[in-house]
């Protein structure tokens, strides 16, 4: 991906246009079983097993270099695993009768810079035997309708991601495999993408696997998460399961004009209390409801009461901490979050 600064000022945002009826979509389950891939002496993906369910968003999480991209490319038949399989309702990608009608993928944004976005899409319409009018349909879907006639080389980073997403949607596939699709999107674009991904899964029943190295990106989008580190499965489960596992990790922030008395009350209840400046108190081992109830009982005035975080972020860091260093020193050449090619290859 090129960051050549030739961004375009016009905005193509915030339009989720339903694709109409989706009754034709066949629910497809993606099963990854024992996937393993070595790059020289480095094991990029190590005996990885997980399942992606239809009509839900599965977040594929892990630090850069954890093997997410490599796994996705193996799932899509672009790289050959050393062992293990990845199947769509039992069939490998290469054996699918009409791959783009079953699976759509966003990997690195790939297009000829001199070709217009619309013509880029038409190429794959022709190759897949789809009507070329699909190109215009998907341009509208991703909010690029006005930019379809321009050279893709002049697109901003965010528009490139949208074009990649449009390419994935061409065949109206049951499964979407999205590798870091939020890269390069501005906050508004990220907001749009989250809604779009949920819409594709929950309203249209598609199977969505979306990777990210940021848990915060997934927390409000994904129903389930698969966390990998150094090519191995670290944790698999729903966000709710993960959250319950992280219970007690979070802290509660309270602001009050009576911090001393508040600290006494909460301390007496056996909670950890760390007074901060400006009337702020950090309480650990509790919940906002619990802290609020105790303050109310003691008649203490509160000005602010909130959970510092869900605790998920800390859990994620702890789960993947060791692997990140390992990855950074051996397999990974990309350390920032601005490229889509972060995974080991």
């Amino acid at each position: 991906m090129r960051l050549d600064g030739r961004t375009v000022g016009t905005r193509h945002e915030e339009r989720v246009i339903p694709t109409g009826t989706t009754a034709h979509l066949e629910p497809v389950r993606v099963e990854v079983r024992g996937l393993t891939k070595d790059f020289g002496p480095v094991r990029a993906v190590d005996d990885l097993t997980f399942t992606v369910e239809p009509a839900s968003v599965t977040g594929f999480l892990g630090p850069n270099g954890a093997g997410k991209t490599t796994t996705m490319r193996m799932v899509l038949g672009l790289e050959r695993p050393d062992s293990g399989t990845a199947t769509f309702n039992g069939a490998t990608y290469a054996s699918l009768a009409a791959p783009v009608r079953t699976v759509g993928a966003v990997l690195e944004t790939a297009f000829h810079p001199a070709r217009s976005g619309r013509n880029h899409l038409r190429v794959y319409c022709r190759a897949a035997g789809l009507p070329v009018s699909r190109a215009d349909d998907v341009l509208v879907q991703v909010g690029l309708a006005d930019a379809g006639g321009r050279r893709a080389g002049g697109y901003s980073l965010g528009m490139r991601q949208r074009l990649a997403l449009a390419t994935a949607l061409l065949g109206d596939p049951s499964v979407l495999v999205l590798d870091e699709p939020a890269n390069g999107l501005d906050p508004e674009g990220i907001q749009w993408l989250r809604g779009f991904i949920r819409h594709l899964a929950h309203d249209q029943g598609r199977t969505v696997l979306v990777s990210s190295h940021l848990l915060s990106e997934m927390e409000h989008t994904a129903d389930r998460v698969v966390i990998v580190g150094a090519g191995r499965l670290v944790r698999e489960g729903s966000i709710a399961e993960l959250r319950s596992g992280a219970q007690g990790e979070g802290a509660v922030l309270v602001r009050s004009p009576e911090t001393t008395r508040l600290a006494e009350v909460l301390g007496a209840a056996g909670l950890g209390v760390r007074p901060g400046g400006d009337g702020l108190v950090t309480v650990t081992g509790s919940t906002p409801a619990d802290v609020g109830a105790r303050a109310f009982q003691a008649g203490i005035e509160l000005h602010e009461l909130r959970a510092e975080s869900s605790g998920l972020e800390e859990l994620y860091f702890r789960l993947t901490a060791g692997q990140e260093q390992y990855a950074a020193s051996t397999t990974d050449t990309t350390t920032t979050g601005t490229t889509t090619q972060g995974a080991a290859r």
């Binding site: 038949g77 050959r80 699918l96 001199a114």
Partner: protein, 251 residues
């Protein structure tokens, strides 16, 4: 397969590469035709005079001098997939990669036909006007027509070789530079050294010369054998490329 060939044509005609190469080929063939005709019959140049059979066969084979541009057309057609990373969506759409290579071979061979006809038309028109002005325009009959057609066929086959070479090497700059160095440095050396000269007729340049040469030159194959040999090089390169390079993981 028809769909894949049409996809290749959409790729080809939605960038401007083909315009540049076709114009370049037309300008070059016109330039050579003018050059050869202006020195025709000149004792120092050694070129036969306008109106002679030797001149007419030489001047109607001028297209053989621009085969390199058709080679580059084929090379770019294949290697742009890797250069611009479109190999990923291409192979996602068509997981059986050999089919992509076949579609490119067929697509570029067919697309090269009208391109070659355009080059031949320019060649003949320039000769018609210039040689006509110098006394005798060649007729399009017999050996003249055969030579002209052979040159056009050579252009088409070189586009096929380009696709094959691109599949084998994957690197666009490497394939183009390698192709140029081979055609303009390596082969002329092989052709001129007595020890290696006998091998020349089996090389791509020898095949081309067999198809189009009219000068008294080195030992060569029959024209049709030359065409088969050239096509063989293109297809073998494409087959090896498919087996060795295209099936490799896309970086």
């Amino acid at each position: 397969m028809t769909a894949l060939v049409r996809a290749e044509w959409t790729k080809l005609f939605t960038t401007r590469v083909w315009i540049g190469l076709l114009l370049g080929a037309c300008v070059m063939v016109a330039g050579f035709a003018v050059l050869f005709t202006s020195f025709a019959g000149d004792a120092q140049s050694g070129l036969p005079g306008v109106g002679t059979e030797a001149y007419e066969e030489l001047i109607l084979a001028t297209a053989a001098n621009v085969t390199v541009l058709f080679l580059i057309l084929g090379i770019i057609g294949m290697t742009q997939e890797y250069r611009h990373r479109t190999a990923t969506p291409t192979f996602l759409t068509t997981p059986r990669r050999g089919r992509v290579v076949i579609a490119k071979l067929v697509g570029y061979a067919l697309a090269a036909v009208p391109f070659a006809l355009a080059v031949l038309a320019v060649n003949y028109l320039v000769v018609l006007v210039y040689a006509g002005a110098k006394g005798a325009a060649p007729s399009l009959t017999g050996d003249n027509l055969r030579i002209l057609a052979s040159s056009g066929l050579a252009l088409v086959i070189y586009a096929v070789i380009g696709v094959g070479l691109g599949a084998l090497l994957r690197n666009q700059v490497g394939a183009i530079v390698g192709g140029l160095v081979y055609l303009f440095v390596v082969e002329p050396i092989i052709r001129s050294i007595p020890a290696t000269a006998p091998a020349y007729k089996w090389l791509p340049g020898g095949g081309l010369e067999a198809m189009t040469a009219t000068f008294q030159g080195p030992d060569l194959l029959e024209p049709w054998q030359g065409a088969v040999l050239l096509l063989g090089y293109g297809l073998v390169a494409a087959l090896l490329g498919t087996l060795l390079a295209v099936r490799r993981d896309v970086a």
